[in-house]
Amino acid sequence: MFALAGVGLNVMFGYTGLLNFGHVGSLLVGGYGTAITVNLGGSLWLGILVGMTAAVVLGLVYGLPTLRLREDYLAIVTIAAAEILRLLTRSSALEPLTQGVFGIQKFADEFYELNPFPRGSYGIWRITWDANTLWAIVVGWLVVALSVWFVWALTRAPWGRVLKAIREDEDAARSLGKNVFGYKLQSLAIGGAIGSLAGIFFAVQTQSVNPDSFQPLFTFLAYAVVILGGPGRVLGPVVGSILFWFLLSFTEAILRQAVSAGFIPDWLLNAQEVAAVRWILVGLGLMLLMTYRPQGLFGSREETLIDAR
């Protein structure tokens, strides 16, 4: 899910240089678009289509009024828009549609009916999944691979070159006959559509959507993922997300073991505090990475050293 969200964000931020702080909004409309459609009697596939379309529309709505302004306005508008969307889905006025704070559950049975894996437990070494989880994981990574391929195909083409030119200097792109506004809209729409896939996948996998899963924090975690992997690199966000989760669960596992084995005295850290401390460590890791490898894992050192203006 983070990988997908990161891939979408990378199109906007890494390639076009657009600061979209409301990326979670695309996830929300994706997830809710799917859930509501199914709830109203549509099929899941129609729901996914609706969710993606809604995210494209959302991208255009973000862009149309703000893209002619300076880029910081886009950041402000998008973060506000994503919050408005979240609060709207929570609100009692829309409860018949969104079921308010309780969210919508059990709408993805169609997805699991397609599960080709027989019931049972699958796993490598000591990590095991049940058949449904395995199915979700497989499909999830397929979707990631597909969207990565899509972004790769787009960005290696002249289209991607124009996006990068806009990131560097939009006036220069304009002076060479490129419709900067149009390209930014396309970037927002495509980034939004890929982001919505993340929302849809999350919704389908957990069989539930809930307004509070779509907190603004998520957008910033997605930025962390993109920056970790190296913005403007096709595989960057995928690797970034793997690393991000690795950091999170690895530090947690180590700390828990250390606490229970008594290596860390109880007054310093107890089992309940581990969850909070691992975020601190992840933050520390991010800071170290930014200091010693500011280009991200995949970025080129040379590229970051060049002052963009």
């Binding site: 083409a157 030119a165 990131r167 560097e168 006036d171 792109a173 040379e302 590229e303």
Partner: protein
């Protein structure tokens, strides 16, 4: 050739040219109470090098911005090769063949020289999102563009650095790159905003040769410059602005002798000691950045 074409043209502001490529009428731009540009009538001769000069703050860059669609005037009409441009966005103006460069060079730093160049080509089918997914349709075109870029890079002595990031170039090389990139658009009229600013004398010399070469190929050139030696050397025609207005026009010799021009540079409101004297061939300082617009 262009000099002869303009031989019979009277050196008065707003004079009609035998074959104008660009005609502006009543173009004006206010910033609050300040009148930045107010041009009654201006014609630019096709196939000639037109120098646009004027003291700092005369509105030269603003005029460039207005004519190329980067800024919107408060009023007026202007036409490029007979096509009215008012209200057209900058990218459309560029596609019509009227391309500009910038005073503060806009090399695309984190793109290689080759990518910079290829960006300049217009009408690329791979630049639409759908076209981009059909590589077999843009591969051939990409090769042709690359060949064209190669020739231009060679001509501007940048070919050795084709795969370097533009950000690694020196200031002067960036100017060359920007000029070469603008040529990828295959413009009929190229508008250069201080192409020599901050460029060392040797490079200035080669830029001059390049600009003359463009004219000899039939391109029209308009350029803003502060270095009087340069202006007098390569301009076929000089247009002088001060305080947003056209105050003089003419061949280099006419302008150098024009008392209104000397006034604008040295006289009344503009007491800048460093401004070069006209016609004496003296070189003043070359500000990298002036306060136009």
């Amino acid at each position: 050739m262009p000099a002869e074409l303009l031989a019979d043209t009277q050196p008065v502001p707003g004079v009609p040219k035998p074959d104008p490529v660009l005609v502006a009428d009543g173009v004006n731009r206010h910033f609050g109470g300040l009148v930045a540009v107010d041009i009654d009538h201006l014609e630019v001769q096709r196939g000639a090098i037109t120098g646009l000069i004027g003291p700092n703050g005369a509105g030269k860059t603003t005029l460039f911005n207005l004519l190329t669609g980067f800024d919107t005037p408060n009023g007026g009409t202007w036409a490029f090769s007979g096509r009215a441009l008012a209200g057209l966005p900058a990218y459309r103006v560029a596609r019509l063949g009227m391309v500009r460069t910038f005073q503060l060079t806009k090399a695309l730093m984190r793109l290689t020289l080759m990518e910079n160049m290829k960006l300049g080509a217009t009408g690329q089918s791979g630049e639409s999102a759908i076209g981009a997914l059909l590589p077999w349709r843009w591969r051939q075109q990409e090769k042709e563009i690359e060949a064209r870029a190669e020739v231009l890079l060679e001509r501007f002595t940048l070919a050795d650095m084709r795969d370097e990031f533009a950000g690694t170039l020196s200031g002067g090389q960036r100017k060359l790159l920007e000029l070469a990139r603008a040529l990828m658009v295959e413009p009929a009229l190229i508008m250069l905003d201080e192409p020599m600013a901050g460029v060392n004398p040797a490079l200035t010399e080669s830029l001059l040769v390049h600009i003359k070469g463009l004219r000899d190929e039939g391109m029209s050139v308009v350029f803003i410059e502060h270095d009087m030696d340069v202006i007098m050397d390569i301009s076929d025609w000089i247009v002088v602005m001060a305080e947003g207005k056209l105050i003089a026009e003419g061949r280099p010799a006419d302008v150098a002798a024009n008392p209104a021009v000397i006034d604008a540079y040295l006289g009344r409101h503009h007491g800048e000691a460093a401004t070069p004297g006209l016609g004496t061939g003296a070189v003043g300082e070359r500000p990298d950045e002036d306060g136009d617009g």
